[in-house]
Symmetry: C2
Subunit: 430 residues, 2 copies
C-alpha cells in the first residue's frame, strides 16, 4: 500500500477542507504515513456546482456505487451527514473491506456499535475522532492512553451551543430564552435547538467516549440526561455566590467495574479547569490511574478543525493498514455492561428550596436530611421575594443519588417547605 486511494462522501465545508489539507500538506502527510494519499472519487449531489477548491471533474459522481463498490478505493471518508441512508452506504463499504473515517456523531451514536462489529468481522478500521469534539483529539488520546493507563473518570463540556448559552447567562446575567434567541440569530444555535439544549447531543458524545474508555457497549438509553432549559438566573446567582459555575457536564465514570454515564447541569468550583471553558469551546477532562488529571481543550466544531481531525484519522488508518493492525480491536467492547444503581452513585448536590420563614423550619428540614444521613458543606439562607418566605440553598457532602431522592421525597412532605426550586449535581471538589 505505497499509494492509498480515498473515496470522499460529501463536499461541503468539511469535505472541501479535507481536499485542501490533503493537497497543501501532501508531502508532510506522505512522510508521516509512508504512503501517498490520492482522492479517487467524491460523492456529491451536483457534479456541476462551482467549488471553492481545485478538483478534477472526473473525481465527481452522484452514484455511491462508484465509491463503495469501487475495488480501487481503500478508504471511505464520510462527511456528508445523515443517518439511515449513510449507514446503508457505509455497511456496504465495510463489506467490501473498505476502512471508514467519519465525522458523523449522529450516525455513530445510533449505529456505531453495529458498524464497529461489522468492521471487526471484516478486519476494517472505523475512525471517528472528528465526530466527538471537532478539533480536540480526544478519541486518539483515550485509545493511546488506554493502552498503558486505566481511565477512571471523564468529565466533558462537549456541546458548544449550551456552553455558549450558559456563558452568556452567567457573564451578562441574562435569562435562557433571550440568550437562546440571540444564539440562534448568530448561528451558534439551530432553529430547532432541542438536540443541543436538552442534552441529547452531549449524551451521544459521552456514549462514544464511555464505550471507548470502559470498553463496554453503553447505549444512549443508559445515559441519564438533563438539559439546561430550567436553569434560572437566580440559580446562577446563588451558585456564583457560593463560588460555583454552572456548566452542562457529561460524566462517565467507573468504580469497581460499574459504570455511570450522565449529562446534566453541574456546579463546578470557580477555579476548576472546566469552569473557565467559555463560549462555544469544548473541553474533556480525563482522570487516569497512572497519569492523573489531564485536560484537552479546543474548538468543539467548525469546518477547519473538523477537517483537520478527519485527516488525522485518515493518517492513522493508513498507518494501521500498513501495520496490519486495526484500531477496532480497541474500540469494540470487551466487557459486559454493568451500570451503577442509584445507591452506588455518589455525588455532592446543590438543593434550593422556598420555605416558611418561621421558627422551627430549619430544624424540620435538617431532621429530614439527618434521617437520611446527609450532611452539608455549605448552607445559605436568604429572604425570599415572597412574604413570609425564605430561600434556603444547601450543598451536601457526597451522598448517593438514592439518599438525594429519599430526602427530596421527605422534604416535599413537610408543611414548611413550599417547593423545591431546583437541585443540581456538584462536582470537582475532591
Amino acid at each position: 500500500m505505497s499509494q492509498v486511494n480515498v473515496g470522499l462522501c460529501g463536499l461541503g465545508t468539511v469535505g472541501t477542507g479535507v481536499v485542501k489539507i490533503l493537497k497543501d500538506h501532501a508531502e508532510e502527510i506522505k512522510y508521516k504515513v509512508g504512503s501517498e494519499i490520492h482522492i479517487k472519487k467524491i460523492l456529491v449531489n451536483d457534479t456541476q456546482k462551482k467549488r471553492d477548491v481545485a478538483i478534477e471533474q472526473e473525481w465527481l459522481t452522484t452514484n455511491p456505487d462508484e465509491l463503495v463498490n469501487n475495488s480501487e478505493i481503500d478508504i471511505i471518508i464520510e462527511v456528508m451527514g445523515g443517518i439511515e441512508d449513510t449507514n446503508v452506504l457505509l455497511e456496504q463499504a465495510i463489506r467490501n473491506k473498505k476502512h471508514i473515517v467519519t465525522a458523523n456523531k449522529d450516525l455513530m451514536a445510533v449505529h456505531g456499535q453495529k458498524l464497529l462489529r461489522l468492521a471487526k468481522e471484516n478486519k476494517c478500521d472505523i475512525f471517528y475522532d472528528a465526530s466527538v469534539a471537532g478539533g480536540i483529539p480526544i478519541i486518539r488520546s483515550l485509545t493511546e492512553g488506554l493502552a498503558s493507563d486505566k481511565i477512571q473518570k471523564i468529565m466533558g463540556i462537549v456541546n458548544g451551543t449550551t456552553n455558549y448559552i450558559l456563558t452568556k447567562m452567567t457573564d451578562e446575567d441574562l435569562a435562557f430564552d433571550p440568550v437562546l434567541k440571540e444564539a440562534q440569530a448568530l448561528g451558534f444555535a439551530e432553529a430547532d435547538p432541542t438536540s443541543d439544549v436538552d442534552g441529547l447531543d452531549a449524551a451521544r458524545k459521552m456514549t462514544l467516549l464511555a464505550n471507548l474508555a470502559f470498553k463496554m457497549e453503553i447505549g444512549l438509553e443508559d445515559v441519564e440526561v438533563t438539559g439546561i432549559r430550567t436553569i434560572s438566573q437566580e440559580d446562577i446567582t446563588f451558585a456564583t455566590s457560593l463560588g460555583y459555575t454552572i456548566k452542562l457536564i457529561g460524566i462517565a465514570s467507573i468504580h469497581n467495574g460499574k459504570v455511570e454515564v450522565s449529562v446534566e447541569p453541574t456546579l463546578l468550583p470557580k477555579d476548576h479547569p472546566l469552569a473557565l471553558v467559555k463560549n462555544e469551546f469544548n473541553a474533556v477532562y480525563v482522570y487516569g490511574e497512572a497519569v492523573g488529571e489531564t485536560m484537552f481543550y479546543g474548538p468543539g466544531a467548525g469546518s477547519l478543525p473538523t477537517a483537520t481531525a478527519v485527516v488525522s484519522d485518515l493518517m492513522e488508518v493508513v498507518k494501521n493498514v500498513r501495520l496490519g493492525i486495526t484500531g477496532n480491536e480497541y474500540i469494540t467492547p470487551q466487557y459486559e455492561k454493568q451500570l451503577k444503581q442509584d445507591d452506588e452513585k455518589y455525588m455532592q448536590y446543590f438543593i434550593r428550596m422556598e420555605v416558611d420563614d418561621t421558627a422551627g423550619t430549619f430544624q424540620k428540614i435538617t431532621n429530614v436530611f439527618t434521617n437520611e444521613d446527609v450532611s452539608f458543606a455549605k448552607i445559605l439562607q436568604l429572604p425570599s421575594e415572597k412574604d413570609q418566605m425564605a430561600e434556603i440553598v444547601m450543598v451536601t457532602h457526597k451522598i448517593s443519588k438514592q439518599q438525594l431522592m429519599n430526602s427530596r421525597e421527605n422534604l416535599k412532605g413537610l408543611d414548611v417547605v413550599n417547593r423545591i426550586i431546583s437541585y443540581y449535581r456538584v462536582d470537582g471538589e475532591d
Copy 2:
C-alpha cells in the same frame, strides 16, 4: 519485528513504572502495535538492590555495553538522567542503529539537535515526549497536528515548581522567599532551585517545542529568559486589581517566517485558560492556523505520568519501525533559523513606577509615551507608601519591544520618575 527487544537504562521510579506498565498492559500494547515488547537488559548501579517490581535477575547489568552494543536490542529507553556520559552512551547506541526513547530534557536541550541529526543519518527514531511535560502528550500532538496544520503560537506553563510558587504567592498573598522555602520542604522545589526559578528549565522545554513547531534549529541561546525571583507581592496585588494573573509563560511564535522564543513572567487575563492552571500542573496552549486554539493540561512531572509517556513513545517507535518511517524526518530542522528583532516583537506591557506626587507629573510621563507612539489600555494611580510619592501602573496596547525599551530609557531620564519598579509582558487579550 514481531518481537521487539528493549534495553532500559535506569531503574529508579520512572524505570520501575515503565517495567510495571509493560507487564500490566502487555496484551493491550501488543494489540496496539502489532508486536510483543520484551525487556532484555536493564542498566543499573547495583544489581543486588531490592526492587519494587518483579524483574528477572538476568536482565540486570552494570555494564552499558550489554545494552548499547547488544545486537539483540532494538530500542533503548533512557530514564537514568545525566548529560555527558548519557550522551556518549546514546550516541553509541544510535551508531548501532538502535532507536531511542528518553525522558531526559536536560540532555535533549544540550545535545538534542546533534543526537537527532545522528539518528537521521542512521535512520533511527528519537522520541522524547516524556521529557517536555510529563503526562501531557504535547510533542505527539504537535507532530501529528503539524502534518495537517500550521502552528502559529505556543504558550506554555512548562515548569511545575515556579507555577506552584506563583500560585501560593497569589492565592495566599505570600512573598517569594517563604514560599520557595516551603516548596523546598515539601519537595516541590530542589535544594538548588536556580534552574527552575530562573526560568532555565522552562527555556529548555520551550526550545524543544519551538524546534518542533517551526522546524528550525533554535538553541537555548536564542531564548530570552527572565525568572520569577523579582516578582513582589505588590506586583501581584496590582495585577490582580487590574484583572490579571501572573504566570511564568514560555512563548514560541512565528510571523512572516520569523520566530520569537521567550520565557518570562507574564500577565494573563483572569479568565484565560492558562490562568487557572494551578500548583504544580503544566499546560500548553497551541494556536494552529486551521484548528484554532487548543490546550493540553496535565501533570508536568511525576514518575507514573512520565513512565506512561515513555511507554507511549516506545509504542510509537515500534509502529514507526514496522512502517519503515521515522518520526525524525519531522523532528529535524527543515528551515533556516530566522529570529525576530526587538522592533518586530509586538506585545502588551504592564509598567509599574514610583513617581513624584505633584502636578504635571502625569503629563511628563504621557509625553514620553506619546513620543514613542505608545498608547494605553489601562492606567491605575495610587498613593505610594512613601511621602510625596505615587505609584502608577500602566498597561499598554500592543507595542514593539523596541518601543518599550525606548520609553523605559526616556522615563528614567525624567526627574519626576523616582524608579521603574517592574514591568511585565501582558498576553492573551486578543
